[in-house]
């Protein structure tokens, strides 16, 4: 196989960079006046700093909630269990909130994974373009008997975060130098995030609207989304909520389900 001996060398270098197994590969490096281990450590330090900095930049509030040293430990364990696989550094950290779910060392902070999910949603929404929305007038040509079969295409930056903890309040409090005291018990949050022409914006939603909008973003037809919302909140007002979805600039296109699709 072409590259048979090269693959062993590259695996050794990878272990040296990610796991610190420098001695295993140092004999392959020329001295040239400086210890080979010191030469390898330059690459290792760069790799670790890069991945660590990427996580810190993506999760600044998580970092603040646990302190710098604990975050460095969490980042190390995350890197060990989830070696970087994406060639876009911006995607490193996708699995970090789920990793925190199972990370025993932060069990005392049960809201931490959901705060991480909120931060990741803010980050990823910021990178997605805002598409010019359509107005509710665009629905005029839809025959009334097919209104329930309308499927909306929504802003590609839309993200939804639900938590049994007040993650938005925690995030906001940690934007301040002096973090105020927060009541955490019995305060969940259902938040919608998207990128508008003005930048990333978010808002809390009541249970009916949260169910309605998450159904729409998942591709449910209008009738199915309304039913899901009513199941969540019997007082759900479909007309007002649909108008608000348009008023928030979230709809960028729509189509009507074919009979075959509707029958499924």
């Amino acid at each position: 196989m072409l590259g048979a001996s090269l693959v062993d060398l590259q695996r050794g270098i990878a272990r040296a960079l990610l796991d610190g197994a420098i001695d295993d590969v140092a004999s392959a490096i020329g001295v040239d006046g400086i210890d080979p281990g010191a030469r390898l450590r330059i690459y290792r330090n760069h790799a670790l700093r890069t991945f660590d900095a990427a996580l810190r930049a993506a999760f600044p509030v998580v970092c603040r909630l646990v302190d710098e040293r604990f975050f460095a430990y969490a980042a190390h364990e995350f890197r060990r269990l989830h070696p970087p696989r994406s060639r876009r550094l911006a995607e490193y950290g996708t699995a970090f909130p789920d990793f925190l779910d199972g990370f025993e060392a932060c069990k005392d902070l049960p809201y931490l994974p959901d705060v991480a999910r909120f931060e990741w949603a803010l980050n990823t929404a910021a990178m997605v373009r805002a598409v010019p929305p359509i107005g509710i007038d665009a629905l005029h040509p839809v025959p009334p008997n097919l209104a329930g079969c309308v499927v909306f295409q929504l802003q590609p930056s839309l993200r939804y975060c639900a938590s049994s903890w007040p993650i938005e309040a925690i995030w906001l409090a940690n934007q301040r130098e002096d973090v105020p005291w927060l009541e955490l018990a019995n305060r969940g949050a259902s938040i919608e995030i998207h990128r508008s022409s003005e930048g990333v914006v978010w808002q809390p939603l009541d249970p009916g609207d949260f169910a309605f909008r998450t159904a729409l973003v998942e591709g449910a037809a209008l009738a199915a989304a309304i039913i899901r919302a009513i199941q969540e909140d019997p007082r759900f007002d479909a007309t007002v909520s649909l108008q608000q979805v348009f008023a928030d600039g979230l709809v960028i296109d729509f189509r009507i389900l074919s009979e075959t699709e509707a029958a499924r």
């Binding site: 072409l2 590259g3 048979a4 001996s5 090269l6 693959v7 060398l9 590259q10 695996r11 270098i13 990878a14 960079l17 990610l18 004999s27 392959a28 490096i29 020329g30 040239d32 006046g33 400086i34 080979p36 010191a38 030469r39 390898l40 330059i42 690459y43 760069h46 790799a47 890069t50 991945f51 070696p83 970087p84 696989r85 994406s86 060639r87 876009r88 550094l89 911006a90 490193y92 910021a126 990178m127 997605v128 373009r129 805002a130 590609p156 990128r195």
Partner: protein, 278 residues
């Protein structure tokens, strides 16, 4: 598409914090270069780049294709790269004499290769494949190195030249990388330049570096003004290779745009002097 601001062949690396200011000011620059991987998704950054594309020639600089890996090229990455090339219609497309990934793990660094017959053959197979898939001639950049492998049997410039001979690719001559490697591995950078064929040089990179704490190693961090010895190499390279498109790179400790434009203006003076001397 031609640039109406291309009177000068010197440009800068476009970094996100400067994008809005560049869009507003439209400074006179020969080209803008971006890291291709930062624009491979449908993002606001891509919209900004496509907007600037009306006024500037663009160079797409890949940093993650990992042409030197002893495994198959990432086909999804090649597909994304090709789609970006079709959108941006870049003046230049470049990658590195390096490897970054093995067994699917991506190390986010441009790691040096041992220069052997085996790695030469592998690298050329990958350059051939990439050029076929991307439909473009690639420029391959010489790396900055902090180490040399005992197994290396071919001098780096000879290795690079042989790649161009076998694959038809060009060379992106990074003079900061050359200087950093020459200091770290104790070789003569001018002798290296003399080995490179003039007609293969498609672009020159200039950047800053810093000395590690013990001052024994230079670190290629693209985080400072261009050092005087690198300017001297640039003057030498211009005389050897002619007025080749030149780029100022700055990635860490990013300063105000004005500082990059000052560095570009200085390079432009040397570039214009060489062009007028033709």
């Amino acid at each position: 598409m031609t640039s109406r601001l291309s009177a000068c062949g010197v440009g800068i690396g476009l970094r996100w914090p400067h994008a809005v200011e560049i869009s507003a000011l439209r400074p006179s620059l020969g080209l803008l270069e971006v890291h291709a991987e930062n624009y491979m998704a449908e993002t606001a950054a891509l919209d900004e780049l496509l907007g600037l594309r009306c006024d500037y020639a663009v160079s797409l600089h890949g940093v993650a294709l990992s042409l030197g890996s002893a495994e198959k090229l990432d086909q999804d990455h090649l597909t994304r790269f090709k789609a970006l090339i079709e959108r941006v219609e870049p003046m230049l497309v470049s990658e590195h004499l390096a490897w970054s990934a093995i067994d699917g793990v991506y190390l986010n660094d441009l790691l040096p290769l041992p220069y052997t017959e085996e790695s030469l053959e592998l690298f050329c197979v990958h350059v051939d494949e990439a050029q076929d898939r991307l439909g473009r001639r690639l420029l391959i950049e010489n790396p900055s190195s902090y180490l040399r492998y005992c197994a290396s049997s071919i001098p780096e410039p000879d290795f690079l030249v042989e790649i161009t001979r076998r694959t038809g690719c060009g060379i992106l001559c990074d003079l900061n990388n050359l200087y950093v490697s020459a200091e770290n591995l104790r070789f003569d950078p001018l002798a290296y330049l003399e080995r490179l064929p003039t007609d293969a040089i498609g672009e020159i990179h200039l950047a800053g570096h810093h000395a590690a704490e013990d001052a024994q190693i230079l670190i290629d961090d693209h985080g400072d003004r261009i050092a005087e010895p690198v300017w001297e190499l640039y003057a030498e390279a211009l005389w050897r290779f002619g007025p080749v498109p030149t780029l100022i790179e700055w990635d860490t400790n990013l300063p105000a745009l004005e500082v990059l434009l000052q560095e570009a203006a200085h390079a432009g003076e040397l570039f214009d002097a060489r062009r007028l001397a033709r």
